[in-house]
Symmetry: C2
Subunit: 174 residues, 2 copies
DNA sequence: CTGTATGTTCTGTTTGAACTGAAAGCACAG
DNA sequence: CTGTGCTTTCAGTTCAAACAGAACATACAG
């Protein structure tokens, strides 16, 4: 088992901290950071030891990373254990995470707003006002969804190109 | 004190739940939801009663919403109490929140990645690999920052227009 | 100046998510 | 079939964040 270098430790700890701020389990984030920095796939046992967490905790966390599709199990010849490796394409990873969070959080919110607008009794006090507010919020979520759909259509790498273009155009103007 | 209608309750509870999933305090989110739906500014006392939370909790939460700039205190003639009201423009609210979260989370991460790349000892084992990974991640965060800067430049409403254009263009093509 | 209404800070308590270790489940070698 | 190595599930336990209530601070009316 390779011990962590100073830089690796820093990155892993910071990534865990970032995770918690965005509603992602600290251990899950740390494991991802470790695998992301690892040049080879790691067995669960080694992850547990390296991060000093329980083997069972690793199991659960890995499964979460797998459902997101940013970590997968690979096999090593002559070793029965599963080895885990992280996806390498940073953009693709974030795209996957964003897509799933949209499904789990944005979509249900959209759904709720629609239901609220449908259920809203015009006779209840302040109904017009409530409707207007709900509609504004619903409009926002519709637009975000639209934005997300358009992003999805862009092949990986295009965003980077767009950004470079944007930068050049802006510089030229000033 | 106005009691909440069914629809209002649903919205407030859901918003609180969403908050927790994105690392935002449940009460903070609920208070924001309440103020967003309220046709008039509300005094802290009334917020506490309506949501059944401690007065002190409201005080703290309101202050957080104020630092984000999406809630402000207003005064009502003949009333010594502060009344709080939420910003109405949904896009502007999210823009503010995103801007601040970027400052608090994205920027420090960028900083860390830079520091890691600078500190990385070329002699340590696997330094090349680590450098490559860190650089990829750093590139991502630079691009996100760039994207954010460009968005900031767009006046409110433009995003909506862009989205409508995008939709039209895509429909025309298919 | 005193008393009352309002807002803030502090401290101890509560709560739920995260975590551990043990038990159970599985797959395969022999 | 049986034992071994690995993984997952389960039942408590731990811990940090959120919260309540009290104490404190402030501002103002009278």
């Amino acid at each position: 088992m390779a011990t962590l270098t100073g830089v690796q430790k820093q990155y892993i700890l910071h990534w865990g901290e970032m995770g918690t701020r965005w509603g992602i389990n600290r251990t899950v984030a740390q494991i991802h950071a470790l695998l992301y920095l690892s040049p080879r796939a790691l067995p669960a046992e080694e992850i547990a030891k390296t991060l000093s967490v329980a083997r069972s905790n690793v199991s659960t966390s890995i499964r979460e990373l797998e459902t997101w599709g940013i970590v997968r199990a690979v096999h090593v010849l002559g070793d029965r254990r599963e080895h885990y490796e992280s996806m390498k394409d940073v953009w693709e990873m974030f795209r996957l995470v964003i897509e799933q969070r949209k499904r789990r959080e944005i979509d249900p919110t959209r759904e709720l707003l629609r239901r609220c607008l449908a259920e809203l009794d015009p006779k209840e006090p302040g109904a017009d006002f409530t409707r207007e507010r709900l509609a504004a919020m619903a409009g926002f979520f519709e637009a975000v969804t639209e934005l997300h759909d358009q992003m999805k259509r862009l092949p990986t790498g295009t965003v980077r190109k767009l950004l470079r273009m944007g930068t050049k155009v802006r510089k030229a103007k000033t």
